[in-house]
Symmetry: C2
Subunit: 154 residues, 2 copies
DNA sequence: TGCAAATGGTTTCAGTTGAAACCATGATGG
DNA sequence: CCATCATGGTTTCAACTGAAACCATTTGCA
C-alpha cells in the first residue's frame, strides 16, 4: 500500500536525507561492534573509547581524555569511575596540581585492550570490504572534510 | 605534551577509526539541525522523524512508522503520544483491525512540517557545500552501499 | 599577600532510553 | 468453535544521559 504523496507540501524523503542516512549507518556500525565487546567484557562504548585513548596516550588527565574522545566530562568521569573500580585504569594525582588526575591502563586494562582492539579493527575491515578501494579512499577524504574542526585539534 | 606510544600493543587510533569518525560526524550534524527545530517547536529528533514519514505516507500504522524511521516501537509509541497530545498527529483505529492505528498529520502538524522541512534541507545543503560535487556523488553512492539492507526494504 | 575568577573533576536531578513484561485483538489449526 | 500463537501497541523498570550545581585547588592580579 504505497500511500498518497503530498507534492504541495514537499515532504522530506528521509531515506535520501544525508543526516538521516549518516545516523543510520553510524548507529548500525557502532552497535554491531559494541555488542561484541559489551557481552564479552562488560564494557560500554564510552568506556572503550576512554581505554583506547589511554592506550595511545599514557598519563592524560580526565579533561584531556574528554577532549580526545569528543565526550563530555561527565561521561568521562563516570566511565573512569567504573574503569578504576574494575581495575582496568589506574588513577593517581598529579604531583604539581592536586586537581588533575594522571591516568593510564593497568595490566588488566591492557589485556582487555589487546583483545578488543584487533576485534574492532576486524569489524572495520569487514565494513570497508563492502566498498571498492576507490570508494574507501573517497570516504576517508570526505569524512576528514566533514569532521568538525574543534575535534581534530592536535 | 605528545605522550608515549606503545607500539607493541598496537593501540587503536580513534581519530582514524571509521566507526568513530562516522559517529562524530553524524552526531554533530544531527544535533546542529535538531537544535534549530527543538528550540523553535519543542520537537525531538524522533518526533520530527515520525512527522516526516507521516508527511510522505499518510495513514501508516505505528509499526510501519517504526520500520520506515528505523526506530524501535517503544520510541515511536512515545513520540506519537506526545505528537497526538500536542495536536500535531491524528490517530484513529483501523476499521478492520482494532489493534492498528491509522496515523496522519493534522493541519497543525502540516504547518510545523512545512516550516521545519525547508530548514532541514537548507542545513543539508550547507553541509554538502563543504564537499566538491564529485565528493557529494561519491558520498551518496557509499552511504547507499553501507546502509543496512533491512532498513531499505520497499 | 589575599581574594575573585578559572579550572579539574564529581554529584545531583530530571529527562530519555531500550528490553522485557504486559494487554488487547486477530489469525490459525485441530 | 476455541486454544494457541502471532501481532500492534503501551507500560514498567533500570540504566544512561547532560545540564547545572557543587567542591577543591590553582591562577591572576590589585
Amino acid at each position: 500500500m504505497p500511500a498518497k504523496r503530498h507534492p504541495d507540501h514537499a515532504p522530506l524523503e528521509l531515506e535520501r536525507f544525508l543526516p538521516y542516512q549518516l545516523s543510520i549507518v553510524s548507529n548500525t556500525v557502532s552497535q554491531a561492534i559494541a555488542d561484541d565487546y559489551q557481552a564479552r567484557h562488560d564494557l560500554s562504548v564510552t568506556e572503550w573509547r576512554v581505554m583506547a585513548v589511554l592506550a595511545r596516550f599514557d598519563g592524560l588527565s580526565a579533561r584531556e581524555v574528554a577532549e580526545r574522545t569528543a565526550m563530555d566530562k561527565v561521561a568521562v568521569s563516570r566511565a573512569l569511575a567504573r574503569l578504576v573500580a574494575a581495575g582496568r585504569v589506574r588513577r593517581h594525582i598529579h604531583a604539581n596540581d592536586k586537581r588533575r588526575s594522571v591516568l593510564g591502563l593497568t595490566a588488566t586494562g591492557w589485556r582487555i585492550h589487546d583483545e578488543v582492539a584487533p576485534m574492532a579493527r576486524q569489524r572495520e575491515r569487514e565494513l570497508l570490504a563492502r566498498l571498492a578501494p576507490e570508494e574507501q579512499a573517497w570516504l576517508q577524504q570526505i569524512l576528514d572534510k566533514l569532521m568538525p574542526q574543534d575535534v581534530v585539534k592536535s
